[in-house]
Each structure stands twice: as structure tokens, then as C-alpha cells.
Symmetry: C2
Subunit: 162 residues, 2 copies
Amino acid sequence: MKRKPSTEATAAWIRLMRVQSRVLDAVEHELKKAGFPPLAWYDALLELSRAPSGELRPVELEKQMLLPQYSTSRLIDRLVDEGLAARRECKADKRGQFVEITDAGRELQKKMWQAYSAAIEKHVGCKLSDADAVKLCSLLDRLGCSCNEAQPIAVRDVASAR
Amino acid sequence: MKRKPSTEATAAWIRLMRVQSRVLDAVEHELKKAGFPPLAWYDALLELSRAPSGELRPVELEKQMLLPQYSTSRLIDRLVDEGLAARRECKADKRGQFVEITDAGRELQKKMWQAYSAAIEKHVGCKLSDADAVKLCSLLDRLGCSCNEAQPIAVRDVASAR
DNA sequence: TCAAGATTGATGCAGCTGCATTTAGTGGGG
DNA sequence: CCCCACTAAATGCAGCTGCATCAATCTTGA
């Protein structure tokens, strides 16, 4: 008598929730301990630094980061307050704007990658062979692909970030 | 020239973060759409309902749910406010208390499992064979086991929840 | 027996999130 | 040309989280 969600699927769900939050907490904690801002800042700075001329429309950033609109808006506020990014007028569309990463922003992104990459290695890399990491990726991808498609790019981004 | 966190490990990290948040959002959203409270409430009600006499010390609940102390304290506040649980005096230790699930709490937990299990099936179960779910579990376990051990129990919990 | 330290739980504060709404500007059909 | 629907971004509000701290009680050891 099969259950609707199989025992196996339910167990996978639980693991996914628990392990992710545990690993994320660990990594975030290490970044904070090293005096860095939250991971979302890094993600945003990385996206900006990868953009052709170091600038993006908020609406682009929003799509890249899979964040709600208001969340992006406030994240940009904070980056600008800290001098890591600057708002530029958008001549083509006066509703909009461009957000440009500053030198300080690029520098912080690079510095954070030092700590970030070390944390990934510590909490993920060293616990998994490369082959297992690939298996994990492909299993996870099967869960995500139903409602999204932009991930392959993002992965390349981070992997080549420094 | 191997990078510190291998490309594969980094990709796995990204997938873990993205897929989890996507799947969690989807499931939480379905619960909310059906008029239910957040998942954390379910987890707490489940733990309480599984306890010998339907009651636990907050400090126990905290350990089961891997939540910070203040978070548990406030979660209990909300459950009590909604009549889903009640605070009971603890005679053995006057600093402490017991939290007991009410009939309404048990009922809500069961009703939520209907929607919750359907959501798990929809967002996890139907995208993964049982064999793949098992593989995913064991890969994830390798990431989590370094700083924790209480998961096998939790899995059994949910799997047998209804 | 009693003071020092540990443990249980609550809470004030700041920051972040989600939701709904607002403001401003664009663009297309009549 | 103008009105209306749509998109871009910001913001007020409520609720939740983390952090630090507090008060009450328990335990230990001299």
C-alpha cells in the first residue's frame, strides 16, 4: 500500500530542508564572523560585476537573483548606502534606473569570495567527492527544473567568480 | 590545477540553496493558499502530538526543531494565542513549564498533513523515483552529519505522521 | 548553608520579509 | 492625441528573526 508521498520522498524533503538550513547557517555564520555582510549582498555584487558594464536594471537583478521586487529594491538601497553600488539614471526609460557597482563593491565581492569559497569547501566540498557533487546536482536539478530554467548560468557564474 | 572548492562542489552548493528555497516557497505557498499557518507551526504541533502525553518542555521542543530558544518561545506564544497549545506549570522545576497540545492543535496538525503531504508529493515525490529519493537522502546526509545526529528520528516522525 | 554559576524562559530592539499600495512613466488602440 | 492598461520602482505596515539581556530558579561546591 503505497502512500501518496512515499516514505522515501518525504525523507528526502526533510533532509533537503534540514541540511540546507544547517549548511546555509554555517556558511552565513562564518561570513559574519569574518565581518562580512550577508550572502545576498555577495550575490548582488557578483551579478553586477559580471554585467557587461558593471551595471544592471533592478528588474534584471531581480530576475537573476530570483528575489521579489521589493526585496531587490531594498537590497539596492543598502548597497548604495554602503557605497558598494550607485544608482544611475536610465535615459531610455525614465521610470527605471541603472545600478552600477563601485570599485569598493568589486573589491568587497572579491574579498568575500575568499571567505565564501573557504566556507563552501569546508561545509560542502570536503564532505563530497566531485563525482558525488555531480550526482547531487543532477538530483537537485530534477526538483528545480519544473518552474525554472536560469540555473546553469548562475552556476557557471559562481564557479568562475575568482 | 584544482580549485579549493571544486567547480562541482560549488555547483552543488548553488543547487542546494536555490532548489531548497524554491521548493520550500512552493510548499509554503500552497499551505498558505489553503488557509493554513506556516510550516513551523506544523512541525511544532507534530512534535507535541508525538510526545508521550502530548506535552513537552519548551527546551525539548527547541532541540527537536533545531530552533533558537527565543524563536521557540515566540512560536509557543502564537500557538497558545490560537488555542492550539496550552502552557502547563512544571512542578518539578519552577523555572520551566510544559506545553501541551490541545484537541484543536491535534486536529489542525492532521488537516495540515493533508495539504502538506500533497504538496510534498507534488513538488518532490512526483519528480523523483523512490530510488533516487534514497540516493538524494544519503548524499544530503553526508553534508549534515558533521554537526548533528538527530535526523533519523525526525524522518520517521514525519513519514508516519498520518 | 549559602554564594557563584548554570539553566529556563521572556522580552526590548533593530533589521529583514511579505503584502498591498503608491508614484511615475510607457505605449498602444481608438 | 489622449485615455487606459501596463511596467518600474519605492514605501508604509505588520509580522518574524537574531541578538543581547533579564528575571527567576536550580545546582554545586566550599
